[in-house]
Symmetry: C2
Subunit: 297 residues, 2 copies
Amino acid sequence: MATITIIGTGLIGSSMGMALRKNGHFIIGCDKSTENLEHAKRIGAIDISSKYTKEIVEKSEVVILATPVDTIEYILPKLLDDIATDTTVIDTGSTKLSICKTVHNHSKRRNLVASHPMAGSEKSGSSGASSNLFENKKVVICESGLSSGKSLQTALNLFKELQMQPIFLSPQEHDSMVGLVSHIPQLIAYAFASMRELNQAKNDGWEDIASNGFESVSRLGLSSPDVWLPILLQNKENLIKNLRSLNQNIELIMSSLSKNDTDTLRSIMKKAVSARSRFNFSKNQLNKSNELTLQLK
Amino acid sequence: MATITIIGTGLIGSSMGMALRKNGHFIIGCDKSTENLEHAKRIGAIDISSKYTKEIVEKSEVVILATPVDTIEYILPKLLDDIATDTTVIDTGSTKLSICKTVHNHSKRRNLVASHPMAGSEKSGSSGASSNLFENKKVVICESGLSSGKSLQTALNLFKELQMQPIFLSPQEHDSMVGLVSHIPQLIAYAFASMRELNQAKNDGWEDIASNGFESVSRLGLSSPDVWLPILLQNKENLIKNLRSLNQNIELIMSSLSKNDTDTLRSIMKKAVSARSRFNFSKNQLNKSNELTLQLK
């Protein structure tokens, strides 16, 4: 059992803490929000809370850095300075290229395992945390060749405890793929939910008629700007390219609707059905359902 | 207990059949797809299947018309010709203006209750049907003043059996609001899931890293083109206006990202969070969870 410091006890940090603490690890939590820290302690995500000090991270076998990505970039070089030579650092940032570049030439780069657990929710802070958030999900590990064998093994063991499967990608591949399947859905939800027509509804109670489809497409519009703004900025090249392509599809839909061009519309729909059918979420669905069932009991 | 003919035993028709049959009504199913009809019978959505004949609808106390909306427009005038003077017709079309116009001057317009149950799923056909699809959902009723008191009462009683709450709107209000909260999410999912980048993925198995966010925003991209194409065309004026506004938001996000304009990005995100927070889906979530639990047993 290890002493693990988690810096950033939000949704990801607290969920990791809950799962790892159940397995007997000793978890120290650091967060600039005392509210988050107190809540993290109350829900059993951490054993004790502490200010960040060199001594604490030096004496930890593992430090998990789970703050927003701009803060990861800011803290990471100093953190690598402060740790002992055999401490493993795992960052959980949703972008990888910019973070990896920041510490590429750091003398303790080999202590870092650059990671991205592919799990989340529209909730933020420790109040949304859940010990099974990561079960059967993937975790992307970037530039594994720059991590020491010991650090990589330590990180893989922890991800195994969280029941995650590792995928090894370059930071460029990660940012491009994750931009498309995670950051773009996030931006779509923000773009949709911020439409002035949704804010200018005339009839009282008309929100009632929104059903599953609306719920599904707009849910991520509830996500925290503090978490997402730095992610989107760090991955903006990929995102702008993807948004341009999305806009072209929307323009094509508009012109086809206006011309009653059913062939083009049907071809867009068929492409969507075919692409979406390649993604299989049955496992995730099952997990979600188990989770909900437990909540109902 | 009534004799009810359901024309169109797809997702909506079969789900209604399952729920109403449980309550003891005698359900006759008509569908051009024998596969749908046979499946509807197997899952207990209908008592018997039949070809459409004047005799059958004449002898039914209620006829529910649940085909795609272009077929509703095509069948409805003839159906009103064929029914008895005291038969109630309920159409379930996802558009209302065009359908209501088609039969505005029909001598039996008063037998029709123009309805739209606000429930659905990305699945189509009777194989996606569920007897609790409508529980705690809204049903929009349009031009209720043009329905006879008896027809309206019959329809309201049936919707009460399905545990739906009625909302009364004009066809214009309906198409405008439903365009925004149902048809636009549908188009967004099609536009996203049909992006060439999703179809041209280079790495095998990269679909694995897609998680809840992707699943949520793209799910409706699996929906049937046969059902959705006629809906989108009938409501195209509203949809083109909304898509233009959505595209403006996406353009603004792109230019703000490219200029690192964090103020504008944060303001878009805050608008989204605030608008989305007005929608409360806790009840729906609970239902969905119950449904999944039942499927697991």
